[in-house]
Symmetry: C2
Subunit: 283 residues, 2 copies
């Protein structure tokens, strides 16, 4: 029998999730809420949700509550929601940071009903218009601190991710934040800086952006990502991002020095070292 | 009547180019040469070229010669080829740097038969196996220093790019190197550094690279690009790359400092400034 899913935050991630869950009949009905009335109406119009409700009504009527909000909102929402759910309601978040959230709910009496998850997919766009079926297909979803969730909660959320065609990986919240800091958050930081540097230097839009072929487009793509989502991620995960950002700055400065000195051997070594990434990504 | 095209360098760029030109009947026959005998045989096997020949024979028998080699080879090949062509043979290069090349052939008596071009497309892969039809479709090709080429040469090469479905932009060689330094070369440098930093920090491949979702994959993609192609590009264009690399390092260091100080307002400003790239790319 399909579940009633309550979606808090009707954007790219949450919206894409429920579109698939409803198609797979895992969900029989989607009720949704959002701080933005405009987005909420848009989600209704696009049939992402079946009904728009208030947060307390959503908590009361949902079998599963998906918290798909910026991570600063999520850390406050999880205890608020756990304070109010029925015994047979389960809650998951889908945020990109987990350490603070994990500490924040560690002692909650309903902690077992909550599963901290991170489905690793997305695009540089946001809002309900950006949601689409299949966003998560064949990607990885991380379940953080699984021992803190009840077996029943884990099984239910595993089933949910099975219907999204995702592969599950279990991980400690701190390890999650460290690894995701390396691969995801660092990539966003360097992409934002690329956009800022090039916009600073190139006053004449048309000359340059005509030339923005594949290389620039793919490196700067993430720089379009929304400030509402990414600012709180950077702030919550600063302790993990800063050390790898420093290593990155050191490496790029070394490359700059080799280039300044026209040190062919060092430059070649640097590029060949970077090329090692080839074998790592496609397995 | 189709032309006999002589392809020097049977890799991704040259190979993709002649595949389309032959399909469009702009070329009746492709003869090819390459320093790598293995690649040359592969290009024959894949029907990218019809015949493998030596360089001098290629020069003698071609109507159009496409130089699709690493840019350090190109600067030496252009005068060598211009010394030997018939009066009705035309030559183009497709390299990513133009200033040095332009100076190098400025006074050549056959300069009018040469067109310096840069079709702005590519992938992170290389060699004849990486070539495919349609690589250049709807992209931009830059013609550098058009006033140095004869009208006949320009018209012929324009026709060649028309058959690749490319849009032409005319540009001074130095302006080309500066702009391409910003959008293409800088993107490669920061992607190489990202790969080096993450490989340095993450000893445990499997843990992290499982997490390499869209964000990391697109930012690090260029780090797979071959050293043979990119080392000479960096070296030839160092004077244009170093200033924008310094600006980039300054901007990213500023972001790091804002993050270290948890300066929400500055971080938000930085991200919003980066977001301005949104409107610039899709026109």
């Amino acid at each position: 029998m399909g579940k009633i899913i309550g979606l808090v935050g009707v954007g790219l991630i949450g919206g894409s999730m429920v579109l698939d869950l409803k198609e797979k009949s895992f969900a029989s009905k989607i009720i949704g809420t959002d701080l933005s009335e405009k987005n909420l109406n848009k989600a209704l119009e696009l049939s992402i949700i079946d009904e728009a409700v208030g947060l307390d009504s959503l908590i009361e009527h949902s079998d599963i509550i998906v918290l798909a909000t910026p991570v600063n909102a999520t850390v406050e929402l999880v205890p608020y929601v756990l304070d109010r759910i029925r015994k047979d309601t389960y809650v998951l978040d889908v945020g990109s940071t987990k350490s603070l959230l994990s500490r924040n709910v560690a002692e909650h009496t309903m902690r077992g009903n909550f599963v901290a998850t991170h489905p690793m997919s997305g695009t540089e766009y946001s809002g309900p218009e950006a949601a689409f079926k299949g966003l998560f297909k064949d990607r990885v979803a991380i379940i953080c601190d699984p021992e803190k969730s009840s077996p029943k909660a884990l099984n239910l959320i595993s089933e949910l991710y099975y219907h999204l065609n995702m592969r599950l990986i279990l991980m400690d919240a701190d390890a999650h934040d460290e690894h995701v800091g390396y691969v995801s958050h660092l990539s966003h930081a360097i992409s934002y800086a690329l956009a800022v540097a090039v916009l600073d230097k190139e006053k004449d839009d048309s000359a340059i952006f005509n030339l923005a072929a594949g290389g620039f487009a793919s490196t700067v793509r993430l720089a379009k990502s929304s400030v509402d989502m990414w600012l709180p991620i950077f702030e919550q995960n600063a302790d993990h991002i800063l050390p790898i950002l420093d290593i990155y700055l050191d490496k790029l400065s070394a490359f700059r020095d080799h280039l300044k000195e026209r040190d062919t051997e060092q430059l070649a070594g640097f590029i060949k070292e970077a090329n090692r990434i080839k074998g790592k990504l496609n397995k």
